[in-house]
């Protein structure tokens, strides 16, 4: 039966091919047009990208092709252009943490002259400092900013513990609130974006740790951190177990599965835009050391060897004009990085967000955390330390006292390997940040 033989051979080839599939690296996308190429990890959803192209970039002084790309592809492509020596990208738009590996590689053009020229636009000093990555040169110009907030369905408000005010909520009150809802309705109505692409690590890095320990790296395994994890594990009993599947909180908020949530403002916008009357937006809770919060900064950078560096510079000039920034706010949910008056006719959902963000930033006990600085391409490993700790203590029920020393060592290795000095809210260090 020769057919039997044939199918065996082809099976072997097929199997070989399939084995190969697992080992193939992802291919970067080819360049598209002769216009200036603007590669961005932000405004990636088709609607936002289209609005940026039609409402913002079409009126720019320089024609450009806006190419949205997910973070891994963005990094791979930018690195490939350096390695290959063929440059197609002129302008890069990405989050602080995504530009950092490129800055470490020396792939970004210094923008000191441009920064001086645009200084009158009123960029806050701390944002400009982030764009220098702790070095001498301005490597990106702040483009847009956002942060994380809490959202609650108005149905949850009657269950607020007595004396609690959304604007000055504490973690203890949040726990009591979620517990009250669970006791009276049977639902675990508190939700976190702890899914595979959710932003949960930022919650630990910018919210929980600063609020309870006053730092991030230095007090990672301190007694305060142990107490914090124990308290958070208790709070987690009122958190819906679906949280480890959530990537964007807007979906469970819209279906009513979740009543109270924490997430990035861009990841709750659909809920707020579709049902602005159903939700309230409020600042993240406070712990014993203050109300930790973390700004999100996207920057514009010019790639070294850019085919059109001058064009990219004039695009940066255009994109950071106050009027353009307001237009960008309307088409996304990123707030201006320059002095600009927020108009009154803003979408009601955006308006809610704006109020929440303003309350967060102006809270008297606000404790802003900077994004990790100087970690290079170890940003993912840094996030993993927090996620692993969370998984072990909260999901698998291990004792903080057993988990934190081990994870603290992993954290120290990252700091030693990268030599990253401490960043706020940790006290400044000489040399690599030390886990105490």
């Amino acid at each position: 039966m020769s057919n039997g033989m044939l199918s065996r051979r082809s099976a072997a080839w097929l199997a070989a091919g399939l084995l190969g599939a697992a080992t193939l690296p992802a291919a970067p996308r080819p360049a598209q047009a002769a216009d200036l190429v603007f590669l961005s990890t932000q405004l990636r959803p088709i609607e936002e990208a289209q609005k940026l192209r039609n409402d913002v970039l079409s009126k720019a002084p320089v024609p450009s092709t806006f190419v949205p790309e997910a973070t891994p592809e963005f990094t791979v492509r930018a690195k490939a252009e350096i390695a290959g020596g063929t440059h197609t990208i002129s302008l890069l738009g990405a989050l602080h943490g995504e530009l950092q590996p490129l800055a470490t590689l020396g792939a970004l053009e210094p923008l000191d002259a441009l920064a001086t020229r645009l200084a009158a636009r009123g960029f806050p000093d701390n944002l400009m400092a982030l764009g220098r990555f702790g070095g001498q040169h301005q490597l990106y110009i702040p483009w847009m900013q956002a942060t994380y907030v809490m959202v609650a369905n108005k149905k949850a408000l009657p269950f607020l513990p007595p004396g609690a005010d959304l604007k000055t909520l504490t973690y203890a009150q949040l726990a009591a609130w979620a517990q009250a809802i669970q006791a009276k309705t049977g639902n675990r109505a508190l939700g976190f974006p702890a899914g595979p692409t959710g932003l949960m690590p930022r919650f630990f890095e910018g919210y929980l740790y600063p609020s309870f320990t006053g730092g991030v790296v230095a007090p990672f395994r301190s007694p305060a951190a142990e107490a914090m994890w124990a308290e958070f594990a208790t709070l987690w009993k009122s958190v819906t177990p679906n949280s480890t599947n959530y990537n964007f909180m807007q979906e469970p908020l819209l279906t009513g599965e979740v009543w109270i949530a924490w997430d990035h403002v861009a990841r709750i916008q659909d809920a707020l835009r579709q049902k602005p009357d159903d939700f309230v937006v409020f600042p993240a809770p406070a712990g014993p050391k203050g109300r930790g919060y973390m700004p999100v900064i996207a920057g514009l950078a010019i790639a070294k060897g850019a085919p059109d560096a001058a064009g990219a510079a004039s695009l940066i000039d255009y994109l950071t004009r106050p009027t353009t920034q307001i237009q960008t706010l309307r088409s996304s949910s990123f707030f201006p990085t320059v002095k600009a008056t927020i108009p009154n006719d803003l979408d009601p959902g955006l308006k809610l967000t704006e109020i929440g963000v303003a309350e967060m930033q102006s809270a008297p006990d606000a404790k802003p955390s900077l994004l990790p600085i100087g970690l290079g391409d170890k940003g993912g490993a840094f996030d993993k330390v927090f996620l692993d700790t969370f998984q072990l203590i909260v999901l698998r029920g291990q004792k903080p006292h057993d988990v934190l020393p081990r994870e603290g060592e992993a954290m120290q290795r990252i700091m030693t390997d990268t030599g990253a000095p401490c960043w706020a809210p940790d006290p400044p260090s000489t040399g690599a940040c030390q886990v105490q």
Binding site: A11, A12, L18, L19, N242, N245, G380, K384, L395
Partner: protein, 281 residues
Amino acid sequence: MRGIRVIPYLLIAPAVLFLLVLFVVPLVQTMALAFQSDGGWNFGNFSRMANDINFNDAVTDTFEIVVIAVPLQLALALGMAMMLRHVQRGRDIVLWIWSIPLGISDLAAGLVWLAILNDRGFLNSLLFRVGLISSPQSYLTYETPIALLAAIVIAELWRATAIVLVIIVAGVQLVPKEYAEAADVFGATPWQRFIRITLPLLKPSIQTALILRTVLAFEMFAMVLSLGGRNFPVLVSEAFNWEYAQQDYGVAAAYAVVVMLVSLAATLVYLGALRSPPDAR
């Protein structure tokens, strides 16, 4: 004469070249990447992989799926192929309907099952309508590991039984009718006929189907990710996490090497265990 001898090699040259460039080269690169860390050749990536908190889960989960789903798929496909033999009219339509899941991408299949099985999904709506539950039930969380495993196995059965079926059906068509008729003459029961005649003659097809399915099951990714998320790590999803989330290409390559070795071992086991004697081919 010489020209004729060269032609077959010329004809297979593009395929060989293709495999060399797109399979062997990346394979060697991956191996090299996996055994290099801290600037030297060592097992550093493998020890980091094995010490990771998700490694044991990833290995267990992957093998659970393979061990549960692949035999079920084979049994189902054999049953379906046998039933199909007795269908006279509309056989092609039945076969066509059974193969629909083959045309659907992994991720799409995962999303379809997610829409069925999530808290507000079709399954809960149905159970609620008929009065079996009073509030949404969760099936896909870390608190319900058995339901989660069952959900992934069911989705996997739905998605990939068809490929086994197609191979088995092709094999069944090659079994000469005379054998069955002869067995009837000697008074064999349908079960004896299946065990003694059909199954041995189907061995080459079963081998092909098992190799294909097992290798694919070890590489399961998009569907598991959409249903299980962080709660159900498998080998390939961990490779993906190390590559993209942690940007640690060495550990990702180590995972790829593990997946490759496991698949290779499974293939060799099947080749050995299901070998047909030369005279039976």
